[in-house]
Amino acid sequence: MKQRPAADLSKLPTFGIGPRSPTWWGTLAFMALEGTGFALAAGAYLYLAYLSPEWPLGVPPPNHWPGTIVTLLLLASVVPNHILNRYAEACAMVPVRIGLIVMTLLGIAPLVVRWFEFPALNIYWDTNAYGSMLWVLLGLHTTHLITDVGDTLVLTVLMFTRHGYSGRRFGDVGDNVFYWDFVVATWIPIYLLIYWMPRLD
């Protein structure tokens, strides 16, 4: 088929950040499907709680303090996370490197406290269905936490190499910020389900 030029794209930029970039949309799609997983696991927990004559089942409610500390750490991390985002948008290398180191540490800190969350549940996964669901919910979120911390760590190293000086990389930092928000946001309902729902009368 014959062709005739109808549009000149030569002046278009070679990268876009946020919703202009396909990676951002891909991240959003993964959040949607993982969020669905979280919602269904939470739904299964509520379903079993609704059917059960008592909840928690046969044990005292979990000690909420490790979970509360994790919650506070995660909420606090949102502020530097968004500061980092602003620097990533400006493609400013030094503050981005500092921000990534800060975010790596702020990812490891809740993971350390998370270690103490499991024993604080006061029940094992194989004791009864209540215990199973607590471990499933906490495990599901911990998987996301570990994955994102690993991702942040690799990205941090990458930004210290020559590969960092690229619009795509700064876009990756922005998407990492975006995903961390998701990890924080999904924790809030899970925190309430694990620690506070068993305390409701």
Partner: protein
């Protein structure tokens, strides 16, 4: 928006000066396609976009057409395996008390038939068709996230091999394709058979979620300039809606299978009523996926039907907006029906009534689509070729299956025929009628694009009539024998029940259906090498995949088309408006805005890489190991992390750096 507007740059999105500020390496520029003559342009693009020859090159390919072709062939092999298992069952059931297959093998056979047809054939083949066609139809050079797409194929292949090797080792799942607890649970499902089911699900769902994400982003962000939402081909709309349904439905079955394997492997009690768990929870979670699954298979087929009807009726499909809204509403409604699979479980009456109403409601948008197609054919000048014959077969069969669906939506009738052959008949009418017939039509329709050769029309007509007659002969009598009370999933039945003759008839129908597929295979193989050359656009169809050569070159389009109409090739019959200004020495494509498809960014597409294969091997080995030990997750994490880093770490290609 006309192409003239784009040419004047009036509608270009405002360019933010992102590239000019910050700590960025200076932009390296390369040769552009502007002003290049056709021969040198094609030489440049062929070198930039080629899949390197050789085994490593083949294993590293990220070309959506090559990956799609692998998917299509693999899915076809699984179709044959699923079909042969059906033939084996039909021979066993052809008379009362036959001894060809024992109960244990029979249980494995019907389970493998179900999981193969649903997870290894139907979903992968509709997605594979999308992987091939969607980038071509939206006028781009590769699918979004091409390495993720390649990864998805390797995961799918290993999941399928895993299931069938298990069958060969006599450890295939034997509890039905939905693997209900408690039968599949730790107490009643000894051995590894249910674990095989659970992890096979995990493989195939990971793969199909990855393809869904790639498809969504391709459709939203990589459409050719000017292809605003109201100019997207209906097939692409169907794939977009399907991909969204996958994103929200597939996690449910992954959660289900993960819960099951946790119960079996580490002793959780999620489905154990003795310790506060619940067996019906399994059914809720499974069918929250399982009902949308039907539409995951059916919606792409409606897109194929729309493409075929438009091409052969010689006019755009009647009621474009209504068609799109129907697709979207079917997508939404598909999540509100799952409980109608559970009417026999003693749920509260009010809940059951709600799901009866919603099950009947979904007939409305589906009916609307059927009437739009009929109106298109009525108003057009239909040319009856094999693809259109299969569309007619689809109308008849799917409408019949839809009617028994409306019957089954009513609780009293459902309770009577629950777990009988009536249900088997119903869902084969819906699935074969609603999806396989359109797929067969689509094969005849798009085969010329994929191979450059036409399929034999004569063999095609024989294929259609054999398939149509064989299918109805095999499945229509199942309604009757189901009403007589013959249950599903029995390996034999006593003489006294008098079901022998009708079952013999059913088996004869199944053999005819099987022969039609033999004929189809012959046609495929023969036409691929000896068929008449097809040319770019053998059917004079209007969508963009027909604007390029058959088969398309690695870069799909020498220049990205500019779209002015929903059937671009009918609107611009002589010359195709195209965009210029892209680099030819790196893999560059156009990212456009979501709604209006204004060109926005010149983005680089990922280069070939062997790492997706390595990542798939690491992930696959972890899944495999996990049916034996929970520590698989711990030991697997390292290799998976290493392969993912290898995948994403920039190698210095311009595609990585700029």
């Amino acid at each position: 928006m006309s192409s003239a507007d784009l040419a004047h740059g009036r509608d270009l999105a405002p360019q933010r000066a992102a590239a000019q500020k910050g700590d960025l390496a200076p932009e390296r520029d390369g040769p552009r396609d502007t002003g290049l003559d056709d021969a040198s342009l094609e030489r440049w693009l062929a070198r930039t976009w080629q899949t390197v020859p050789g085994i490593i090159g083949a294993l590293s390919s990220v070309d959506h057409k090559i990956v799609a072709r692998r998917y299509l062939i693999t899915a076809f092999v699984f179709l044959c395996l699923g079909g042969l298992s059906a033939v084996a069952m039909r021979i066993q059931l052809s008379g009362p008390e036959r001894g060809l297959i024992g109960p244990d093998r029979y249980n494995q056979l019907f389970t493998m038939h179900g999981v193969t047809m649903m997870f290894l054939f139907a979903v992968p083949i509709v997605q594979a068709t999308g992987i091939y066609l969607v980038p071509l139809m939206v006028g781009t050079r590769n699918i979004a996230f091409p390495r993720l797409n390649a990864f998805s194929f390797w995961i799918y292949l290993s999941g399928g091999l895993f299931a069938w090797v298990s069958f060969a080792l006599d450890m295939a799942p034997d509890v039905g394709w939905f693997s209900y607890v408690p039968l599949s649970g730790p107490e009643f499902g000894p051995g590894k058979r249910s674990d095989v089911w659970a992890q096979m699900i995990t493989y195939t769902e990971v793969s199909s979620l990855a393809v869904a994400v790639a498809t969504i982003v391709t459709v939203l962000k990589q459409r050719a300039p000017g292809m605003s939402l109201d100019k997207i081909p209906l097939y692409v709309w169907a794939m977009l809606v399907t991909s969204f349904v996958i994103v929200f439905a597939m996690p449910a079955v992954m959660i289900t299978s993960t819960f099951l394997i946790l119960d079996r492997l580490v002793g959780t009690h999620i489905f154990n009523p003795a310790e506060g768990g619940d067996v019906l929870l399994f059914q809720h979670l499974f069918w929250f996926f399982g009902h949308p699954e039907v539409y995951i298979i059916f919606l792409p087929a409606t897109g194929m039907v729309s493409s075929i009807i438009a091409a052969f009726a010689r006019r755009p499909v009647f009621g474009y907006l209504g068609m799109v809204l129907s697709l979207i509403s079917v997508g939404f409604l598909s999540f509100g029906l799952w409980v109608h699979h559970m009417f026999a479980t003693g749920l509260p009456k009010l809940g059951a009534s709600f799901f009866t109403a919603s099950s009947m409601l979904i007939a409305i948008p589906n009916g609307l689509q059927i009437f739009c197609w009929l109106a298109t054919l009525w108003d057009g000048r239909p040319i009856i070729r094999t693809p259109l014959l299969f569309v007619f077969g689809f109308f008849f069969t799917f409408v019949a299956g839809g009617l028994t669906g409306v019957m089954l939506a009513s609780v009293p009738l459902d309770l009577q025929v629950h777990d009988t052959y009536f249900v088997t008949a119903h869902f084969h009418y819906v699935l074969i009628g609603g999806s396989v017939f359109p797929l067969l039509g689509a094969t005849y329709f798009w085969f010329p694009k994929i191979t450059g050769r036409m399929m034999s029309e004569r063999l095609g007509r024989w294929h259609f009539w054999l398939a149509f007659i064989g299918f109805n002969a095999a499945f229509f009598p199942m309604h009757i024998v189901g009403l007589w009370g013959m249950p599903r999933r029995v390996y034999t039945y006593p003489v006294e029940l008098g079901w022998g003759n009708i079952n013999l008839f059913i088996t004869a129908g199944a053999v005819v259906l099987f022969l039609s597929f033999v004929l189809f295979t012959i046609n495929l193989v023969y036409s691929a090498s000896r068929g008449a050359p097809a040319g770019d656009n053998p059917w004079n169809a209007g969508t963009l995949e027909w604007a390029t050569s058959s088969p398309p070159p690695s870069y799909n389009f020498a220049r990205i088309p500019v779209v002015t109409h929903s059937e671009p090739l009918w609107a611009e019959r002589d010359t195709l408006p195209v965009a210029t200004g892209l680099r030819v020495d790196v893999r560059e494509l156009v990212i456009s805005t979501v709604a209006e498809a204004y060109p926005d960014v010149r983005e680089k597409s990922a280069t070939p890489s062997i790492w997706p294969l390595f990542a798939a091997l690491a992930v696959g080995a972890t899944f495999l190991y996990s049916i034996f030990s929970p520590w698989a997750v711990v030991w697997g994490a390292g290799p998976i992390a290493i392969t993912l880093i290898g995948w994403f770490w920039p190698k210095g290609d311009p595609e990585d750096e700029e």
